[in-house]
């Protein structure tokens, strides 16, 4: 497991150009969102938490898709499965994707604050939401990347399967970030975080359990 994790991290590090690309893509989506919403500064400020998560979500479809490229290109996955369990392979990839998405969110946060004049009110809470929210995206996203990447329509299937599944995580993450940016008079933050954690718990365990059906067959 540790060796697998090390391999995944190393691959991500060696593919730094892709990381920069994903970051640029996320920044470009932020610009596009602002153009679509108009030049009303106060409206943009209110939409900032949603834009943050949409940017992460859209950028994640690109990076998730790449996470199985190294194995599918020359059938290395079959060799990998011979000496480690599918669940270990899945968790190593999901952890790496999680780490990457959380880092992406951390970089986007100051950018959002500057672009949309959103004060980083409770930085501790925003960090917590970023970590929990990207965990919610990473587990189902990694599993779906595994199957979309080996089908005839990878780019189409990944968002088609992954977007509807992460609706609860997205709702909870946007709401909790809103409360982190603009203050929390009704004290609802912990409720949304609990929802997010419940989502993560369900899908990190369920995806791990189903990974053998997806990695072993075919």
């Amino acid at each position: 497991m540790m060796a697998l994790l090390h391999k995944e991290m190393l691959l991500t590090w060696r593919g730094r150009a892709r990381v920069i690309g994903a970051l640029t893509f996320a920044a470009a989506t932020l610009l596009m969102f602002s153009f679509s919403a108009g030049a009303d500064g106060r409206l943009l400020q209110r939409l900032a938490p949603g834009f943050l998560w949409l940017a992460i979500l859209l950028a994640s479809t690109l990076t998730l898709q790449a996470s199985f490229d190294a194995e599918t290109e020359d059938g290395a996955l079959d060799g990998l499965i011979l000496h480690s369990s599918p669940a270990a392979i899945f968790y190593a990839k999901a952890l790496t994707n999680w780490l990457f998405l959380a880092a992406l969110g951390l970089v986007l946060l100051p950018l959002i604050a500057a672009l949309f004049d959103a004060s980083l009110g409770r930085l501790d809470r925003l960090f917590a939401v970023l970590i929990a929210g990207t965990a919610g995206l990473a587990a189902p996203g990694t599993l779906y990347a595994a199957l979309a990447g080996r089908s005839r329509a990878a780019g189409l299937l990944l968002p088609l399967l992954y977007f509807p599944l992460v609706v609860p995580a997205l709702i909870a993450a946007v709401k909790a970030s809103e409360l982190g940016f603009f203050g929390d008079p009704m004290d609802q933050w912990s409720g949304w975080i609990k929802l997010l954690l419940a989502f993560c718990l369900i899908f990190w365990s369920l995806c791990g359990a189903l990974s053998s059906a997806i990695l072993e067959d075919g």
Binding site: R150, S151, L157, I171, F203, L210
Partner: protein, 225 residues
């Protein structure tokens, strides 16, 4: 009795019951005090909603059965219930929109039940297109079973989170809150749709099975001509 005859029987019984129930609903039952005749769409809308949920529950059960027992039969039934579930959820959205415009003033509202149905429709349509883009039958069967399990596990979570996020759909009616002349067409239509669904699932799963057989052993040149 052969299974084809049985399915045909179920289908005809279902259509007859639907005809009878809809006649009662359209012409015999009294109009609703507040909504008037618009309310009559409930006699098909509510049974469609019930059956859509039943069929997706079946899809989940068949997906689990396939992963546990590894039999093509469960995969064929899984494919059939996925497709019929998507059909019913699509119809459900159209009926709901037709009813929503005159009563709520909008075709669509971000109510928890509506939103959950929309997410369900998207999730299961995605699984159907996943099946379409996989050529290897074993991959198709076990990958779509895994995604059906994930999508089904998500339904209650979506419902709960959207309810918290925003709430307009009227509370569920029970036979106790509704006059008996309104209950009767609803029940008859529900049973009619149930029988029709059984017939459709049976027929669709045979199609799935024969397609798989053909894909695994395509007919030879002389046979097909």
């Amino acid at each position: 009795m052969s299974r084809e005859r049985l399915a045909l029987g179920f289908g005809l019984l279902g259509i007859a019951l639907l005809g009878w129930g809809s006649y009662l609903g359209l012409f015999v039952a009294p109009p609703d005090r507040y909504m008037g005749d618009v309310q009559r769409i409930m006699y098909v809308h509510v049974p469609t909603a019930w059956l859509a949920l039943v069929v997706f529950t079946l899809a989940f059960i068949y997906a689990v059965l396939f992963l546990v027992h590894r039999s093509w039969r469960w995969d064929a039934l899984h494919e059939a219930s996925l497709e019929i579930g998507v059909l019913f959820t699509g119809l459900l959205c159209i009926q709901g929109a037709l009813w929503g415009k005159p009563t709520w003033g909008v075709y669509w509202a971000w109510d928890p039940r509506l939103t959950t149905v929309a997410v369900m429709l998207l999730s299961f349509t995605g699984i159907l297109s996943l099946r379409h883009f996989l050529d290897d039958p074993l991959r198709r069967a076990s990958w779509s079973a895994a995604t059906t399990i994930l999508a089904s596990a998500n339904v209650p979570v979506v419902y709960y989170s959207v309810r918290w996020w925003n709430s307009l759909h009227q509370l569920q009616s029970t036979p106790k809150t509704v006059n008996s002349s309104m209950v009767e067409p609803l029940r008859i239509n529900a049973f009619g749709l149930l029988f029709l669904t059984i017939a459709l699932i049976m027929a669709r799963s045979w199609i799935a099975e024969s397609r798989r057989r053909k894909a695994m052993a395509p007919p030879l040149a002389k046979e097909s001509s």
